[in-house]
C-alpha cells in the first residue's frame, strides 16, 4: 500500500470545487489579455469589456475538464519518457528562477553567472533523486531582457533530463519555443514528446495578467505543457482561512484550464501552485511554513479529484544559510508533498523564500528526496509468509547480516544515503575531519560536477541554439554571449 496524505474530507473537497466554480461566475475572473477575453466571450462567458472581468458559467468549466489532458509524459532529450504527470507518481526538480546563488565560500548570496548555472545543471544531471531540470537561476552576465531565455539556452547545451521553465515576457516565449523545437526536431516532434513544461502564474486574487495568460495560450496552441502556478498568499492576497485560500486556488486554476482548453482542446495544463501563508510579522511569503504545506497538499487533493496532473513548490526553506532551519523546512515540505502524491515538486536547492539557489542545499535536499521516494513506496510483504520461514530457519539467532535474504532485499528495502548524511561513529566522524552536512555537501557538489559527461548535442544544434539566442540578445543591445563553458574558449 502506498501511504497517502489526505488533508480534506471528501465533502470538503466537493464544497471547495463547488465554491471555486461559483467564484468564476461571481465575482468572475479578471482577464487582462484580449485574446483570452475573446475566446471566453465566444465560448459563452459573460465578459465585461470595460472592467475586463469574465464570468464563466459552470458548463464551460465542465467542458474544459472533459477535454483537458488527464495525464502525459515529459521526455528526456533523447526521447525516453522520464516524468509521468498523472496518478500519484512523484517527481522532483530544483526550484526555479532564483535571483541569487549562495556562495559556499562566503556563505552569502551573490548574483549568479553563466558558470554557476552550468555547474548547477551538471549537478542536477548527476543527482539520481532529481527527475527533471529547471531553469533555476537568472544569470547576471547577460542583459536582463534575455534573462529567461538565456537560462534555457544554457541548459539545453548540457542536459538530458526534461526541464521545467518559464518566460518573463511574451516575446521571449517565442524564442524559447524556437530553441525547444530545434532540440526536439520540429514542432510536431515537440508536441508528441514534450521535453519542457512552462510555469504560468495567475495573479492572486483571480486575475490573469496579459503576460502569463499569453504564455498559457501560446503553450496550449504549440502543444507545450503549461503548469499553472497559482499562489494564494493566505492573509495577504487570499483569505487567511486555509480552506478559503484553497477555494481561491481552485477558481484560479479552473480558469487557467478553461483558457488553455479554449485555445486548444486537449492542451496539457497542470494543476499547480506556489501558495504561502503570509508571515504576519515580517510580511514575507514563507515556503517553510506548515500552513503553506497544508494549502499545497489540500489543493493537490482537489486537483486529483478532478483527475488532473498536479504540481507544487515544496521542499524549500526560508533560511539564509544551510542550518537547522534549512534542513527542517526542506524535509517537512518534501515529505508531505510526496505523501500527497504530487506529480512534480519544484523547490530543491531553494532558500530565502524563492530568491536563492544553493548547490550544496540541492545535494542535501536530494537525500531528503531519496528518503521521501522511499517513504511513498511504502511497506510491502515481500515474502509469503512475511517472516515465518525466516524464523523457522534462524530461530533466535541474530545472524541476518549473513543471510542471503538480507543481501537480496537490503537495497530495495532501505534508502542508502550518500556520504552527505553522517552515520559514522563519533570517532569515525572525528577522523574524517569532523565536518558539517554543508561541508560534506560542498565536497559532493565538486565530485558530482566533475563526474558529469557531456550530453550528445550535435555541433550543428549547438550552433543553431547559439544563433537563436544571439539574435534575441542583439535586440537588446548585447552583441556577444558569454562563452559556453567547456565548449567555447573564454
Amino acid at each position: 500500500m502506498r501511504p497517502t496524505l489526505r488533508m480534506l474530507s471528501e465533502s470538503l473537497v466537493e464544497q471547495i470545487i463547488a465554491e471555486g466554480m461559483a467564484l468564476l461566475r461571481d465575482p468572475g475572473v479578471r482577464v487582462h489579455n484580449e485574446e483570452a477575453r475573446r475566446l471566453l466571450a465566444e465560448a459563452g462567458a459573460d465578459v465585461d469589456a470595460v472592467r475586463l472581468i469574465a464570468r464563466i458559467p459552470e458548463t464551460i468549466v465542465r467542458q474544459a475538464l472533459e477535454t483537458t489532458a488527464h495525464e502525459f509524459d515529459l521526455f528526456t532529450l533523447d526521447g525516453r519518457p522520464a516524468v509521468h504527470y498523472g496518478g500519484d507518481e512523484v517527481h522532483f526538480d530544483p526550484g526555479s528562477a532564483a535571483l541569487s546563488i549562495l556562495d559556499p565560500e562566503t556563505n552569502r548570496q551573490r548574483v549568479p553567472l553563466t558558470a554557476d548555472f552550468v555547474r548547477l545543471v551538471k549537478l542536477v544531471e548527476q543527482l539520481p533523486q532529481i527527475d527533471a531540470q529547471s531553469t533555476a537561476m537568472v544569470c547576471g552576465d547577460v542583459v536582463p531582457e534575455i534573462g529567461d531565455l538565456y537560462r534555457l539556452y544554457l541548459a539545453l547545451n548540457y542536459i538530458r533530463k526534461p526541464i521545467v521553465t518559464g518566460a518573463f515576457r511574451t516575446d521571449t516565449w517565442w524564442t524559447m519555443k524556437e530553441m525547444l523545437v530545434a532540440v526536439a526536431g520540429g514542432e510536431a516532434a515537440l508536441a508528441a514528446r514534450p521535453i519542457a513544461v512552462f510555469d504560468v502564474c495567475p495573479s492572486p486574487p483571480l486575475l490573469w495578467s496579459d503576460l502569463t495568460c499569453q504564455n498559457l495560450i501560446d503553450c496550449a496552441r504549440a502543444g507545450i505543457p503549461a503548469e499553472l502556478v497559482s499562489m494564494p498568499l493566505a492573509g495577504a492576497t487570499a483569505p487567511v482561512t486555509l480552506a478559503a485560500a484553497v477555494v481561491q486556488h481552485t477558481a484560479e486554476c479552473l480558469s487557467g484550464i478553461v483558457i488553455g482548453q479554449l485555445a486548444r482542446p486537449g492542451a496539457r495544463v497542470v494543476w499547480g501552485g506556489s501558495p504561502a501563508a503570509f508571515d504576519m510579522r515580517e510580511g514575507t511569503t514563507p515556503m517553510g511554513d506548515v500552513a503553506t504545506w497544508m494549502i499545497d497538499c489540500a489543493y493537490a487533493q482537489v486537483g486529483k479529484r478532478l483527475g488532473l496532473p498536479t504540481h507544487a513548490y515544496l521542499g524549500m526553506s526560508d533560511a539564509k544559510i544551510i542550518d537547522a532551519q534549512c534542513g527542517m523546512e526542506s524535509a517537512g515540505g518534501t515529505l508531505l508533498g510526496a505523501l500527497a502524491g504530487i506529480n512534480m515538486i519544484s523547490g530543491a536547492g531553494m532558500m530565502d523564500f524563492e530568491s536563492c539557489q544553493s548547490l550544496e542545499k540541492l545535494v542535501i535536499d536530494a537525500e531528503i528526496i531519496g528518503m521521501a521516494k522511499r517513504l511513498v513506496r511504502g511497506i510491502e510483504p515481500r515474502d509469503e509468509p512475511i517472516a515465518l520461514s525466516l524464523f523457522r530457519k534462524l530461530g533466535h539467532r541474530a545472524d541476518y547480516l549473513a543471510e542471503p535474504h538480507t543481501l537480496k532485499w537490503f537495497r530495495k528495502e532501505l534508502y542508502l544515503p550518500s556520504p552527505v548524511i553522517d552515520r559514522a561513529t563519533t570517532d569515525g566522524w572525528l577522523r574524517k575531519g569532523a565536518t558539517t552536512a554543508a561541508e560534506r555537501a560542498a565536497e559532493r557538489v565538486g565530485s558530482l560536477v566533475a563526474s558529469y559527461q557531456p550530453s550528445p548535442v550535435p555541433p550543428e544544434l549547438r550552433a543553431e541554439l547559439r544563433a537563436i539566442t544571439t539574435r534575441a540578445a542583439r535586440k537588446f543591445g548585447m552583441t556577444a554571449l558569454p562563452p559556453l563553458p567547456d565548449f567555447e574558449r573564454v
Binding site: 495573479s203 504576519m280 523564500f353
Partner: protein, 220 residues
C-alpha cells in the same frame, strides 16, 4: 468628557476596530473637540501604542494594517474640517509610489505605502505596471518630495532607472528624493542608477523615507 472621547479613539485603534475609530472621531467633532486635538490626543497616541505593540512582538501586521485603515478613515473626516478652519497638517512628506512598468507585483509596494501612510506621509499609490510618465505627471501634480519605486523582476528593475531619468529630464529631480525596493533590488543597484535610498522591508522603508524627507527639507 473630552478626554474620555479621545481615550475611546485611542482604545478603538488599539483594539483594531475602524468603525469605532470613525464613530469616535465623529462624536468628538460633535462634542466640539478641535480636529487637531483629535489627531494629537486620539489618533497619534493610538497608533503609537499599536506600533509599540508591534515592535515588542505582541501585535502582528494585521493589527497594524487594520488600525492604520481606521486612522485613514478618521483622517478623511478630519481633513475637510481642518481646511474649513484654514488649518493644515504638517505632513511628514508627500510620496508618489508604484510598481514600475511591466511588473505586476503588488504586495510589497502596498505594504510600504500603507506603512508610510500610517506614519503621516501623504501617499499617492499609483498601483502596478505604472508607465514611467505617470510617475512624473503625479510628482508634478501632487508636488511630491519623495518617489518610491518597486520592482520584483530582474527584467523590470531597469524601469526604476527610467523613472529617475525621466524625473531628471522633466527638471524635477532636485525636488524629489527617490527610494527603490523589491526582491532583486540591492543597495548597489540603487547607487548605480542614482537613487537616493534603498530599503529591504516596510519598516526600514519608513525610516528611510523619514530620513530622506528631512534631508529635502534641510536643503530647501
Amino acid at each position: 468628557m473630552c478626554s474620555e472621547l479621545l481615550a475611546q479613539i485611542v482604545a478603538s485603534l488599539v483594539a483594531g476596530d475602524p468603525d469605532a475609530t470613525v464613530d469616535g472621531t465623529r462624536q468628538a467633532l460633535a462634542a466640539g473637540i478641535e480636529p487637531l486635538a483629535i489627531i494629537d490626543g486620539g489618533l497619534v497616541p493610538g497608533m503609537r501604542i499599536v506600533g509599540e505593540k508591534y515592535s515588542t512582538g505582541e501585535y502582528f501586521l494585521p493589527n497594524l494594517i487594520v488600525s492604520a485603515s481606521g486612522m485613514k478613515q478618521a483622517m478623511a473626516i478630519l481633513v475637510p474640517e481642518l481646511k474649513a478652519r484654514r488649518q493644515h497638517l504638517t505632513s511628514s512628506g508627500t510620496v508618489v509610489i508604484g510598481t514600475v512598468r511591466g511588473d505586476i507585483h503588488e504586495i510589497g509596494k502596498s505594504l510600504v505605502a500603507t506603512m508610510l501612510a500610517a506614519n503621516g506621509f501623504e501617499v499617492h499609490d499609483l498601483g502596478v505596471d505604472v508607465p514611467t510618465d505617470a510617475f512624473v505627471a503625479r510628482v508634478k501634480e501632487a508636488g511630491a518630495n519623495l518617489v518610491g519605486l518597486s520592482a520584483l523582476l530582474t527584467t523590470t528593475m531597469h524601469g526604476q532607472k527610467d523613472v529617475i531619468d525621466a524625473l531628471t529630464k522633466a527638471g524635477l529631480r532636485a525636488q524629489v528624493k527617490v527610494m527603490v525596493g523589491g526582491a532583486p533590488v540591492t543597495r548597489k543597484w540603487a547607487d548605480d542608477i542614482g537613487a537616493d535610498g534603498w530599503a529591504q522591508d516596510a519598516v526600514a522603508a519608513v525610516d528611510l523615507a523619514t530620513r530622506l524627507v528631512a534631508h529635502v527639507q534641510q536643503v530647501v
